[in-house]
């Protein structure tokens, strides 16, 4: 039952890619995701995979190569971070609108400038409206598990959308931790053979990819993308159920940590959720009913489901590891409160922008948020706040 190992988050994703053995990987190295194509190209050289590895000259070319190969009918994967994703910008929209189920490992890092190589979620948040499915991972295990599930979700005929698996740069990508790997043959069987219904190299059924799409059609095509994104929710859960049967590890749209009787709830994503769990445990030992809601699936956004899970809380804090710089609130906060509004939920809810550019977030920082929640008035003044910022807040 599983293989006990210790791997960094990057090693975990590279291992998953080795087990998936995609037809094509096209990538350009960028910190902190560099190790993923580096390890993977070693697997290629050693003959451990039979993937065609395309060493391109930029991220724009990496995503272009992914689009070309996925259109041709090849299962295709890539990895990048921050400015690498920025350089892909034009092509990520093309990938999703062409309905190409490319899988990307996005090792989250602050988008410059000024230059910063450390973790926040500004890269992923920038791509939140690009039509990619976005899964977030607390640790190396979840980055691995999400990658194993990714192709199945993206390639499903009701979905056909590209998907990015996010994890925190350095914090999990470069931390060695325990992990349970799945046997190669089981992964192979789970992921299955890629048999696209339509592809360019199908000479029996010639097709065009990416032609002109003006007033008469683009709107309908975008609406179809939106339907596919809604469909993804169900598919994500079905794949998770099958994954649980194989591994015993349960995944949903989000994780509810001690939520049943929680009065004060923190909503967050990626590695901070683990730190928040430790903070909640400490507070519960002192009688504070603290809970954590960890968002795994950010796109499609499970607003209704999250609102229902929060309905018994007295106060909620949403932690955003990227500032939308919009004078209103972070992206996760805005999505959560709009989900709550639709469910007629009027629980006091505040937003903290935190961890920008790799600013460390400790158990004590999280405890200070719970402490703010205990004192929160019914209509909080200034719900758009900072956590861990020096000087005046």
């Amino acid at each position: 039952m599983g293989i006990r190992e210790r791997l960094s988050g990057n090693e975990a994703v590279a291992t998953a890619m080795k087990q998936i053995n995609p037809d094509v990987v096209a990538a350009f190295p960028i910190t902190p995701s560099t190790e993923i194509p580096q390890y993977f190209s070693t697997f290629v050289s050693n003959g451990q995979v039979d993937t065609n590895f395309v060493a391109v000259e930029s991220e724009h070319s990496a995503m272009s190569a992914c689009i070309g190969s996925e259109s041709a009918g090849a299962r295709t994967m890539t990895a990048t971070s921050a400015n690498g994703l920025s350089l892909m910008w034009e092509m990520i929209y093309i990938a999703s609108s062409l309905r190409l189920p490319i899988v990307m490992s996005l090792v989250n890092r602050a988008v410059s400038g000024p230059l910063n190589i450390h973790n926040d979620h500004s890269d992923a948040m920038g791509a939140r409206d690009s039509g990619w499915i976005q899964l977030f991972s607390e640790n190396n295990q979840e980055a691995y598990d999400n990658t194993i599930m990714a192709n199945r979700i993206a390639e499903h005929k009701d979905v056909l959308l590209p998907l990015m698996v996010c994890q925190d740069g350095f914090i999990t990508s470069h931390s060695i931790e325990n992990i349970e790997l799945i046997e190669d043959d089981k992964v192979k069987e789970f992921v299955g053979k890629y048999t696209p219904e339509h592809y360019l190299l199908d000479s029996e059924n010639p097709m065009a990819v990416g032609p002109l799409d003006l007033q008469a059609y683009l709107f309908e095509h975008k609406a179809q993308q939106a339907i596919a994104m809604k469909n993804a929710k169900k598919v994500i859960l079905e794949v998770a159920e099958e994954f649980e049967k194989m591994t015993g590890r349960k995944y949903g749209l989000f994780e509810e940590y001690k939520l049943e009787d929680a009065e004060y709830v923190i909503v967050c994503m990626n590695s901070t959720a683990g730190t928040a769990k430790a903070a909640a445990d400490e507070l519960r030992a002192n009688g504070v009913k603290a809970g954590v809601l960890k968002v795994r699936v950010f796109r499609p956004f499970p607003g209704e489901e999250i609102a229902k899970a929060l309905s018994k809380a007295k106060a909620v804090a949403v932690l955003d590891k990227a500032d939308s710089l919009n004078g209103q609130g972070g992206a996760l906060y805005e999505d959560v409160v709009s989900g709550m509004y639709n469910e007629k939920l009027t629980i006091p809810t505040i937003n903290y922008v935190y961890g920008i550019g790799g600013r460390d977030t400790t158990v004590n920082d999280i405890k200070s948020v719970y402490s703010d929640l205990e004192k929160l008035e019914s209509k909080p003044e200034n719900p758009y706040r900072y956590l861990g910022l020096r000087g005046d807040k």
Partner: protein
């Protein structure tokens, strides 16, 4: 997580403090523990002060932050003693282990605000004698295992021979020297106060 042990490493870029933290994580993993081993990446350059961390526990570890109140601190380069507050937040029930040839009075004085145990070891001498080169991380690894009692010396040595055989598969001639460095370090680590 009452059993959680947190360790902070201080070194200079190029001395292998990061590698040592990963080797310690490996060794503890092999004795059945839950582990974390991670460096704090700054502007990486040879000779710049760097920090690396370990968490070791009998139960799963969910915290993902740096370590501010460690149980143990390892100082791989004693020139850091006067420029970095290496004992910051260090628990007085824990200990600090320093690679140094400085005398005990100097060490007690430079760490006079720290009330816990101070240990020292001459990792340079051990490394030169056992390996013919200066790789302080191997002796420092043994020293912290000895001081922290994370595992028994026997478990540690049995595990490390396996790791070295794997790591140095293409250079088997250095395995004996590395094992000798570990053994010497286990014997020579010395309590200062």
């Amino acid at each position: 997580m009452d059993n959680l042990i947190e360790i902070r490493w201080h070194g200079r870029g190029g001395q292998g403090a990061k590698t040592a933290s990963l080797l310690l994580a490996d060794a503890a993993f092999n004795t059945g523990k839950y582990i974390q081993g991670f460096p704090e990446y700054g502007p990486e350059r040879m000779g710049a002060p760097i920090t690396a961390y370990n968490r070791i526990s009998n139960t799963p570890i969910t915290i993902h932050s740096n370590i501010y109140e460690p149980d143990y601190v390892v100082v791989v380069d004693d020139t850091l003693l006067e420029s970095v507050n290496v004992a910051a937040g260090l628990k007085e029930t824990g200990a600090i282990v320093i690679n140094t040839t400085k005398d005990n009075e100097y060490l007690k004085n430079v760490l006079k605000d720290y009330k816990g145990e101070i240990y020292k070891i001459d990792a340079r001498k051990i490394s030169i004698e056992a390996l013919g080169k200066y790789f302080p991380n191997t002796p420092m690894l043994a020293a912290i295992v000895k001081v922290s009692k994370i595992m028994t010396e026997e478990e540690f040595l049995n595990d490390m021979i396996g790791s070295f055989k794997h790591k140095f598969a293409k250079k088997p001639e250095v395995i004996d020297g590395n094992m000798k460095a570990l053994q010497m370090a286990l014997e020579q680590v010395e309590k200062v106060n």
